[in-house]
Structure formats: structure tokens, C-alpha cells
Amino acid sequence: MSPHPIEATGLVKRYGEKTALGGIDLAVPAGTVTAVLGPNGAGKTTAVRILTTLSRATEGTAHVAGFDVATHPTEVRRRIGLAAQDATVDPLLTGFENLVMISELHQLSRRAAKARASELLEEFSLADAANRVTSGYSGGMRRRLDLAATLVADPQVLFLDEPTTGLDPRARNELWSVLDVLVARGTTLLLTTQYLDEADRLADDIVVIDHGRIIAQGDARSLKRQVGGDNIGLIVSDEARLAEAAEVLSKVTGGEAVVDAAAHAAVAPTADGVAGLADVARALADAGIEVEDLGLRQPTLDEVFLTLTGLPIAEDDDARAEEAAR
């Protein structure tokens, strides 16, 4: 038995010449949440597919819920729940029928499956839509049903591949509030996401991957420290004074301001939070520079990547296409 519910060593996945994963190590302790953060095509889905037995690693080993994913896939499947990137509920079945079928395939009796399905639909606020076919569900409803489906067998380990991608803010918040409960409940969870705020909110540990490799790892605080914490961003009213404004920003924050001429914007890291913001505002006013917008910003995923790799997120179309093809 492995000590952790998810343990992976040196996972490599190659498709012909292409390397989707270039050697990934993961360890998720019981009752904790790990977020795998990265852009499209970084290898997030590939990693999840290997851990959930859908894909075989070219090299390396992984144990989930104490079993080797390569040699004991069925034992792993009995103990996990997976919500794939595109909610994979059956579009021609009703919500109730979907959950009954998946419960039965988790080897519950028909009677137990029906009871479990009703219970989950109730808890996920889908009871009213239980007898409608899911092709008529909204994106948020489908995700909730998909999440309910992963819980039918009360899994030991849960995998959610980009659970909120493509959802509107309201649906995302609804889903987050459900995930909060799971997290508080101590479910061992691995989720992938493209959003730093999502990882920040849900995860104990964040693994940043790019081009199939881990480029940073740690809790949200240490990760933010690595990328310099919060930023102060401004947008000037008069384009001509952008350079001047950037200079003020650099001087006050002590960091180097990055200028986006097209957006009339400048951004610089700050260690002082809101206090630093007040200083910048004062300095700008003293210099007589009018701003349309001035605010404290969390680093975006782009900025994290910029800081960690020195390169913007690569628009790796091949990798995207590969991920999209599945």
C-alpha cells in the first residue's frame, strides 16, 4: 500500500514523436486538495487520464487508492470518481437515468442505485430536472450532474478535470460552493484548472505545469511569493503620459513596471498590498497624471507563467489540438 491516495513517479506520455508529459511526480495526501494549474495543452488532461486508468503512461508508475493504475485498473476504478473535462453525462438519458446507470455500473443493486440517484439529485438541487433528458440541461446543471455522478459510489479519491471551464460566473460560484463542502469534508481531490483564483480557493497544494513538466509547486501563498504576490495595475487616460506613469509606478513600488502600450496600462508587483496602492495614487496625483483605473490585482495565470518561465503562455496549437481531439 502506498501511503498517499495519489502517488505518481516519473509519468511520461508520448504520442509518437510528441511528448505530452515529460516526467511528472505527484503526491496527494489523504483528505487534501491538489490543483494542477496550467494552460491548454500543458498536459493536465493527459495526467488525469493516466491516473484514472483511461490512458497508459509510456514511462513511470502511479498508484491511486493504493493500487497500481497499470496493473490493477479495475481496483482503481472501484475507488475513484472522475468528472472529465466535457461533462460526459448521457445526453439522451434523464438526470435520474444517468445516475441510476452509473450507480449500477458501480455495482449497486437497482434498488440501491435508484435510492442513491434520488438522494444525489436532491442534494445537487437537480430534483426538479430529474426526469428531463440532459440534452436540455444548462452547462451548470450538466456539471452538477456530472459531479453527482462521480460521487455515486462514495469514492476515496475524486478527479475533476477543469470542473468550471466554460461556465458563467454564477454557475461557477454554484459549483464552487458544492466543491467547498467536499473539500471541507476531507475528500481527497485532484482538480485541474486554468484559473489561479480557482486553485487558490480550493486547493491546499498547487502544481503548475507547462509543456508536460512541473514548473512550480507549493501552496497558494508560497506560489504567489514566487511570482511576487499582488500587482498594482493602472490605465492612464492620456496615452502620452503612460511612460511617465510607469516610471512613477516603478519608483513607488520598487518593482519593475511592465507596460502594455495598446491597453494604455502598466503593471508592477508590490509587497505592500493596499498601503502600496495608496502610495501610488498619491504619487500619481502629485505628478498630475490622470488614471482611468488603478487597482490591486492578483497575478493572472499569464503573469505566473511569465514569472516562472520568462515566457508568455505558449500558444502551442499542436498540443491544443491534441487535447481537443480527445
Binding site: 472501484r78 446507470m101 455495482q107 442534494e123 460521487l151 475528500t187
Partner: protein, 291 residues
Amino acid sequence: MTVITPPPTDTRIEDVVTPGGSEPHASRGVLHDVWVIARRGLVHMKRQPEQLSDATIQPIMFVLLFAFVFGGAIEVPGGGSYKEFLMGGIFAQTIVFSAFGVAMSIANDKKNQAVDRFRSLPIANGAVLGGHAVANLLKAFLPIVLMSLTGLLVGWRINSGALDALHGYVLMIAFSFAMIWIGVLLGSVVGTPEGVTGIAFAVLFPITFIASTFVPVVTMPEPLRTIAQWNPTTSLSDALRELFGNPNTPAVGSDPFPIQHPVLYTWIWIVAIVAVVAPIAVGVYRRSTVD
């Protein structure tokens, strides 16, 4: 950053999950899993108007169209009613075409990622294909029953003994079973519902028309006639005519083996498809779902 307060929710997930999860349930065996997936296939048919129509309206329409539109124009060499000649062909055409429905459901599973969903569940090996096979075998009964009833309405009769008639129906079900594996192969190789539709019309239409389905093969020019004579759609049509005691073109000494022995030749095809195509189809399906 905007802070949005989560909407009030009555979700009490505490009630449905246990920290650390539960011990998994013991396997209920392959037949249980096959039946669960087969039931899904039957619900799919019910909810897809085009599939349901393929199995109901279309065969009925073909019986009525050919019986009344062409019925007067086509003469059966050797005499007899064209309506009675027609029925064996309509049965055969519908059964051969059933491969299309199977291929569509395999391709749709792939498109909707149902394949991945099933593969992430603790189900018995082969249960997904087994479920497809059982569902499609059950689906095969519906058009056969409806065509028989429509046929009886327009004047088709079974003029043979009960045993031969039973043999005829068993032959239809057996051929339907064989066509399932052709469908699995087609669906796995092509992979998309759009592709399946294209291939089906390019391949299945000629197969069902260059045959004794609607007209006797003796009326066809060479080389179409030879192709038709060896086409299993011809032998299935002719075998059903023979077993139901319906009019058919009498075989002459110079005719090839399939025309002389349509029942035997049809069974050889069924056995060959199940013995050769089915294992290949299963292999190709497996490979198409794993990476």
C-alpha cells in the same frame, strides 16, 4: 477582484459523502453490466426519432411502396405474386441496413465520450460491446414483427410448414446478430456519426440493391448479375422466400452455389462473419478506445 457571494444553496453534500470514501461494492458480474448498458441502448432508440423510424416507419413504408408502386410492373420469373416475392427482400434489406444503426451508436458513444465514462467505471471486460450487442439484437425484433404484420395486410402469406417458417425467423435473427459486428467494425473504424452516415449510404445501399432484394437477378446485366448472385443479401432474400414458401426465380443447373443453396450459403456467411469479423471488430473497437 470582484467578490461574488455564492447563491444560497440547499446542498447538503455532507449527507452523501464520507471522508475517505466507502469500501467499493462487490462486482455483480458481466451479465449484470451487459444488461445495464443494453437498457441504455434501448432507451436511446426510444428517444432518437430517426433511429426509431429506421426500425419502424421505414420498413413499413418500403413494404407498401414496393408492393403498390412497383408491384404491378415487376414480374417474377417462374410466376407468382410480386408482393410475396418482395417480402424476403424487404426483410433482408432491413436486416443488412441494421449494421448502420449499430455503427451510429458506436460512433455516438465516442463523440459523447461515453466510452471514457464507461472505461472509468468498474465494469466487466467486454460489457460495453456486450450491451450494444444485446440492445441491437432486441432492437432487431421490432422491424421484423412490424414488417411481418404489414406484409400480411398487403397479402403476403407464409405458405410453408411451421418448422420452415420458424427456421426463416431464426435465420433473420441470426443474420441480425452477425450484422451487429459489421456495425461495430464500421463504427470503430470510421469513428464519427457523420462519417458513418456517409459510408453507410456509399456501401450499404449498393449491397442491398445489387441483389435479388427487389428484382430477380436474372434481369441484371453482367457483371452485376454475378456480383448479385454471390451477394449475401441475395441469398438471405432467396433463403427467406424458400423457407416461407414464397415465389422465387427457380434455380437452373448453371447457377452458382449461392443460388442453388441459398439457406446453406446464408448460414455460412453468418458463421463466417461471427467467427472472423466479430473478433476483428472487438479488437479494432478496443484499440480505438485506448491510448
